[in-house]
Symmetry: C2
Subunit: 457 residues, 2 copies
């Protein structure tokens, strides 16, 4: 579909990219208190652009954490209403010295733009905004369908504000479907819609031994060591094959349908290539009975993300730390209840905590898994819109990641989500040298334009 909006988008690609760079320069790291004003600044940047291009009721909604951004344009009578979601906050950039170019100085190399948040999710948020601009400008200030925008600044820290807002102001947000641009293509040039996400329970085990840090020469052999205790606990959470040992953990796990499993098998996936070029490890780990896509998309897993405590600078310090902690998360699959899993986890951790150690379990976030159906007109229109851009059939995949908001759209607003993401598997999400493939940024804009045109038809 070569519409006027698509032409407008093509003519303005360079400017769109320069604007995105401006947004990427704002270090809106939501988990770090010292970046709170940057997160606010990013919200203001986005909100002011929504206003400029033609949205109404643009509002920066404060919360106890970081603000939400709302905007709408609701004058397409008789046409469907899209609730458009993305997030403007980003992960911390560390380890900072592994970036080739600075994380908050977006840099173009090999048709990619490198920056923290390039693909997750500022680049994909800006895809939406620039699709809206193209539709407004080429449509005499009108959109082909009704649009409500809800962007958040806490996705990387659990999304409390939006979860609360949806529950309190569901009517204001409700549309016919949600558009979510925070996922990726299964492979380069392969149009993809994500129809399943894992849930997440993210905890921190805080362990206390002695009342103060102690000298390991003087007290080694008598004082409890919280880092050792945490290591002991972690080693008992999974067996060598990656199977989680928490009693009852797998009780409610729902298997994918046979049709899904069959479709996954036909995806272009080379395990050896994946190991070498994406993971870059000697071997792949995890439950060997399940193929890689099955175990990363549809099997629950447990990972340790960091163990603060003691001496972590370069060199040697002979300290027995008084306290230490372990950041541990679990990815959940459909039918596992986060509260139930958390209860089982807590009781197991308490049962294996070594004597002399006091453990406190802090919960950073929790959300359940979701699978959305492919048999609705929104998924169909999105499939066609992607075909317009890629000239190829779309594949339906799941993601091992978690977007709790999609669960809330399904369970609270009772609307299906279209997860149309243009990232690539090697985009280094949450890692150094995060990037977004620039042609995909442009394709995403056109796909959204076509998607809305097809829904208006």
């Amino acid at each position: 579909m070569a519409t006027a909006a698509v032409s407008y988008a093509r003519e303005n690609q360079k400017r769109f990219l320069e604007e995105l760079k401006e947004l990427l320069r704002i270090p809106s790291v939501s988990t770090m208190e010292e970046h709170k004003s940057d997160v606010q600044r990013a919200a203001e940047f986005v909100a002011s652009e929504l206003k400029r291009i033609g949205f109404e009721n643009v509002d920066i909604i404060p919360s106890s954490g970081h603000p939400l951004i709302y905007a709408d344009w609701l004058h397409a009578k008789g046409k469907p209403t899209a609730l458009c979601y993305a997030h403007y906050d980003v992960q911390p950039p560390d380890p900072i010295d592994e970036w080739t170019t600075p994380p908050f100085e977006p840099t173009e190399r090999n048709q990619n733009i490198y920056a923290r948040g390039a693909v997750d999710d500022k680049g994909q948020l800006w895809m939406q905004v620039k699709a809206f601009e193209s539709l407004f400008r080429s449509g005499n200030g009108k959109l082909p369908i009704n649009v409500k925008v809800i962007f958040e600044g806490e996705e990387e820290v659990g999304g409390e504000a939006i979860a609360e807002y949806i529950r309190k102001h569901g009517d204001k947000l409700r549309g016919d479907f949600a558009l979510v641009t925070d996922t990726e293509l299964f492979a380069p040039e392969l149009p993809t819609l994500c129809v399943g996400l894992r849930g997440l329970v993210y905890t921190e085990l805080e362990a206390v031994g002695a009342m103060t840090d102690l000298h390991s020469g003087v007290y080694g052999g008598a004082a409890p060591n919280p880092l050792e205790a945490l290591s002991r606990i972690i080693s008992k959470l999974k067996d060598d094959s990656g199977r989680i040992l928490i009693p009852g953990f797998y009780d409610d796990v729902q298997k994918p349908t046979d049709a899904e499993l069959k479709a996954w098998k036909s995806l272009p996936f080379d395990e050896e290539h994946y190991r070498k070029t994406e993971v870059g490890s000697m071997v792949l780990t995890g439950e060997a009975d399940y193929p890689v896509l099955y175990r990363t998309w549809a099997r629950p897993t447990l990972e340790v993300h960091g163990m603060p405590g003691g001496f972590v600078a370069a060199g040697a310090k002979t300290v027995i730390p008084a306290k230490a902690s372990a950041k541990i998360s679990m990815r959940l699959v459909p039918n596992q209840n986060p509260d139930d899993i958390l209860k089982k986890y807590e009781s197991f951790v308490n049962s294996i905590t070594p004597k002399g150690i006091q453990i406190k379990i802090k919960v950073h976030s929790k959300g359940e898994a979701i699978v959305v159906g492919t048999d609705n007109k929104y998924i169909k229109a999105a499939t066609e819109a992607l075909h317009d851009v890629f000239k190829k059939d779309t594949v339906y995949i799941r993601s091992g990641g978690s977007i709790p908001i999609v669960t809330d759209f399904e369970n609270v607003l009772k609307i299906p989500s279209v997860m149309m993401g243009l990232g690539l598997p090697d985009d280094n999400l949450h890692a150094p040298n995060e990037k977004f493939h620039i042609p995909n940024f442009y394709r995403g804009i056109e796909a959204i334009i076509n998607f809305f045109h097809r829904l208006a038809a």
Copy 2:
């Protein structure tokens, strides 16, 4: 013994303390590259004072790390020669927010002086310098015995420079005995000489999994996790009772003599008081078959000091770190050979490293344990000198800590060491709120004065 030197020391106590504060204000943290110039500054401060009070051949000896300080005064014909050792470098101050007053702003409270290095070892180094000053000033510029001073700035990071220097310039350093002021009293008001030290092997296990940090949603279930691998390794190094599981680890362990064990039993030691007020933990850990003093002084132990890697700031980040490491040290007892232990440790670690993880073992430092005899005239004179000050009999103890230099004095220079330390068990060595009991600073000065007078008699 109320000598002129003791009188001089008493009259100048206030000034001595103010000078010590000046030295404590220099953050000579030897393990941190950014403090390299501070370590140099501390060396210059000490060397210039040695010159001022009357030493000859004062020299700041550069090394590939931090400098040594040498000085001598060798005109007491027919009298013994003391090699006087202490160190002017300190441990890092972290966790910095647990200090009541800043670590490098020495503060007096309750007859203590609080600062990093107050007791370990700047305060005890200054004890020596001020004893020398008192002897010079009251003795017409002469000392009662010959003195060679060797102070180092790398004790907290393994002491490479002094170890090398002793091996190359043994003749220059050789005396009849060494005086080492880097230990502590067994209890307040109880004169103590330390006659045994544990050895140390300090390692860092560097584990690598994937080639870059990965998102735990996308890769959780397939990518190896180095923090988990390290936890698994650590959990296999000791059993629940604290017994080290490295094959052959205990083969060469030498038991203390029956006489020593008997003497230790008569020391004023209340395990419950120690647990509550020194360690401050719910229980004591370690090999239950051995009493606390036995297991901290004469049993080898293994501790984890820090596990850098992944996300260690506040909040949540869903990363599978590409690499992580574990700082692990072992304390050794007499007859265990550090190289042999290291070999057994390395081969065991390699045998229990989970698949998919590459481990590199870095050695930060190693040194063997030592026990010095009590039947020499230097220990006898030191015992009498302490009686002069405390009016009590001296107890002979061991320390669980490690002073590799004492081993070198014994094995390379073939001279016995007198470990006369005035610290207290609750002085928070290597921990926040390190302190030195001010009356012990003054007593230490007088004890050294009396010790040298008795050796000259």
